[in-house]
């Protein structure tokens, strides 16, 4: 299909460790259409960043295919891959660490032009200046060095560097999580503006559901290397079909239900399981508020690994008991009313 920009198909990534292989990404498929923003949400260790790196061919994969603009790029190398880097770019979490401290802002932004297009000199400087204006930084910033920038300014420079090659896709890995709330809001507004004006598609990787909701049309929620729920952002936020999504939503500080009422937190028990010993059946069952820990009769969760399938809500979820999730969400809203 022509409107599909990025297609990830059955991606698997194994990391060998002393304690055996860690399957960081375990059979994940995800598409991003042109000018679409897709959010990839999960906690540390969910595999979301690894998947983002796979999308940009920065991470070798164990199995699966990566298609970009219709081409199978899974085994592209050398000059072919370099040409592709003009079309997709990355924005990283810690903007100061991502900028070379010994290069001026102008050189940082201009470098991709030289490296990928061989553009130098006056044209390189002119295009760097133009893109600086696009991220709303004054032209005199071109001569500055990273240590002279605030966190918000540095992230704008990081975005400018990604934009300067006019990419079709930008993978943004936690683009605002190191910034203060008011600065984060400025960066979010900028990302939304660039999407509208330049037709860029985003894969936004974040632990923060509310951020993703703000920027993205579609959301995929990852847990321990799998996508456990995927669908239109509004629907997932209004009526999550997977208990993990419901817990994430309720754990997000300041979370409110569809009616604006405060929800009580659905507190998950324990930590993420050891990734070298993933639980049998449903990998979320050890922490699941509606799984066999809470309801011992639900043995299917221990025996069967649920697949991502239509959940009856217009999106997909990997859970044997999606019918119980609505109850969980309602219960959380009801508890909150009783408390207040």
């Amino acid at each position: 299909m022509t409107d599909r920009l990025l297609e990830l198909d059955g991606i698997r990534v194994d990391f060998p460790t002393r304690h055996g292989a860690v399957r960081a990404v375990d059979g994940v498929s995800l598409d991003v259409a042109r000018n679409e923003a897709v959010g990839l949400v999960g906690e540390s260790g969910s595999g979301k960043s690894t998947l983002g790196r796979v999308a940009l061919r920065l991470q070798p994969l164990t199995a699966g295919r990566v298609h970009f603009a219709g081409d199978d790029i899974t085994s592209w190398r050398g000059a072919q891959l370099r040409a592709l880097r003009r079309r997709f770019q990355m924005v990283l979490q810690d903007p100061l660490a991502a900028l070379n401290p010994r290069m001026s802002v102008g050189d940082i932004i201009g470098e991709p032009l030289h490296a990928l297009f061989g553009v130098r000199g006056a044209e390189q400087r002119a295009r760097a200046a133009a893109v600086l204006d696009r991220v709303h930084l004054p032209a005199h910033m071109l001569a500055r060095y990273p240590h002279e920038l605030s966190g918000g300014q540095a992230q704008r420079v990081g975005i400018a560097r990604a934009l300067v090659v006019q990419p079709d896709l930008v993978v943004a890995d936690e683009p605002v999580s190191s910034l203060d709330a008011s600065v984060a809001a400025q960066i979010l507004a900028l990302l939304a503006e660039l999407k509208a004006d330049e037709g860029i598609a985003y894969l936004v990787i974040s632990h923060d559901l509310s951020l993703v909701r703000h920027l993205c049309e579609r959301v995929a929620v990852m847990y321990l290397g799998r996508i456990v729920e995927e669908g239109p952002a509004e629907q997932i936020f209004r009526s999550p079909s997977h208990p993990y999504t419901a817990a994430l939503l309720s754990a997000t500080p300041g979370a409110r239900g569809a009616d604006g009422a405060r929800r009580t937190r659905i507190v998950l028990s324990g930590d993420l399981p050891d990734p070298t010993a993933i639980p049998s059946g449903c990998r979320f069952r050890t922490r699941c508020p509606i799984g066999p820990v809470a309801e011992p009769s639900r043995v299917r969760c221990i025996e069967d690994d649920p697949v991502l399938g239509p959940s009856g809500q217009g999106h997909a979820a990997a859970c044997h008991h999606t019918e119980a999730v609505a109850e969980l969400v309602d219960g959380s809203a009801r508890d909150a009313q009783e408390v207040s």
Partner: protein, 329 residues
């Protein structure tokens, strides 16, 4: 107030540097009642963390407390000798920091560190109590955990250990500085739940510091909003959240992406330099409602509602004794 456990009055802290004197905290006053959970919010550099450290007498050079008093149950914390201060820290007031990995000693077991905290304050039978504490903060397999080292624990577990250490000597007040910032959201929810439960069940007062208004809103009874070294708004959490009176608080609430909110209204600009601080209201350059008096005088924090104690420092808000422009607070 007679029933205040902690009483901070006119606290001012400066930092000296090559570039001059930064007025990080500029005349901050607040109370914490026994058993209360008070949230402190503000952006980086607003003075919230250094205020928290001052409560334990932990302001080090180049920082200096230039003015003000801090009283814990009537005892003057800032004028205590080193020995008295040591008996207060960890026993009457304890602190939980943001990053548990750097606060725990990597070469001692969890058990040793817990026992040390109690021995330092003359606890008679620390071993049994250590086990009890880990149970209290809901660490499974507590006996095993006591023999482990910090690196063998997850981030959430380590923060639970820090909270157990803070609880060890049954303090009257726990100061928690960004205790959940380094944690994932589901773990953050667990830790906030735990702090709330400790506050309710043991009546331990907690000062919870966070850059996230939402974290504070979820758990605190009362909230203090810091901006540029001052408290600009304070009051019951529900009042401040539902009906914010200061333009900064309103902007903060509007700038956070939140379910059910269509348009994000980012707050333009950044906080002012405090070396030296501006003469007028520090928020004026970023304020949409700014008018003449704002540049001339700094509004003081005044109570706007006696029933709730809701207080605001803004020229736009009518208050009983809003001072004339030109006078400083």
């Amino acid at each position: 107030m007679a029933d205040a456990l902690l009483e901070v009055r006119d606290l001012s802290i400066v930092f000296e540097s090559r570039h001059g004197r930064t007025h990080a905290v500029r005349g901050v006053s607040f109370d914490v009642a026994a058993g209360e959970l008070v949230g402190v919010v503000g952006e980086s550099g607003c003075g919230k963390s250094v205020t928290a450290r001052a409560l334990l007498g932990l302001v080090d050079a180049p920082g200096r407390i230039t003015d003000g008093t801090i009283r814990l149950d009537g005892d003057d914390v800032l004028n205590m000798d080193a020995r008295t201060l040591r008996s207060v820290r960890g026993r009457r007031i304890s602190m939980v920091f943001q990053d548990p990995m750097t606060s725990l000693n990597p070469v001692f077991t969890i058990g040793q560190q817990l026992v040390d905290v109690m021995r330092a304050h003359g606890h008679a039978a620390p071993q049994g109590r250590a086990l009890e504490l880990l149970d209290q903060v809901e660490i499974p397999a507590a006996a095993l955990r006591l023999r482990q080292y910090p690196h063998e624990l997850s981030g959430g577990m380590r923060q639970r250990v820090m909270i157990a250490m803070a609880l060890a000597n049954e303090p009257e007040l726990i100061v928690a500085d960004e205790p959940t910032t380094a944690l994932d959201v589901t773990i953050q929810a667990q830790i906030l739940d735990l702090l709330q439960r400790i506050n309710r069940e043991q009546r331990t007062a907690i000062v919870l510091i966070s850059h996230s208004l939402d974290v504070v809103v979820d758990v605190a009874d009362r909230v203090l909003v810091f901006y540029a070294g001052r408290i600009v708004e304070s009051g019951p959490t529900s009042t401040v959240f539902v009906d914010p009176a200061h333009p900064y608080t309103r902007a903060l609430l509007g700038a956070v992406p939140r379910p059910g909110q269509a348009v994000l209204e980012p707050l333009a600009g950044s906080p002012p330099s405090l070396a030296p601080p501006p003469l007028g209201c520090a928020f004026a350059p970023r304020c949409r409602s700014c008018f003449d008096p704002c540049d001339e005088g700094d509004p003081v924090l005044d109570v706007v509602d006696d029933a709730t104690g809701h207080a605001v420092a803004c020229w736009l808000t009518p208050a009983a004794d809003r001072r004339a422009p030109g006078r400083t607070a």
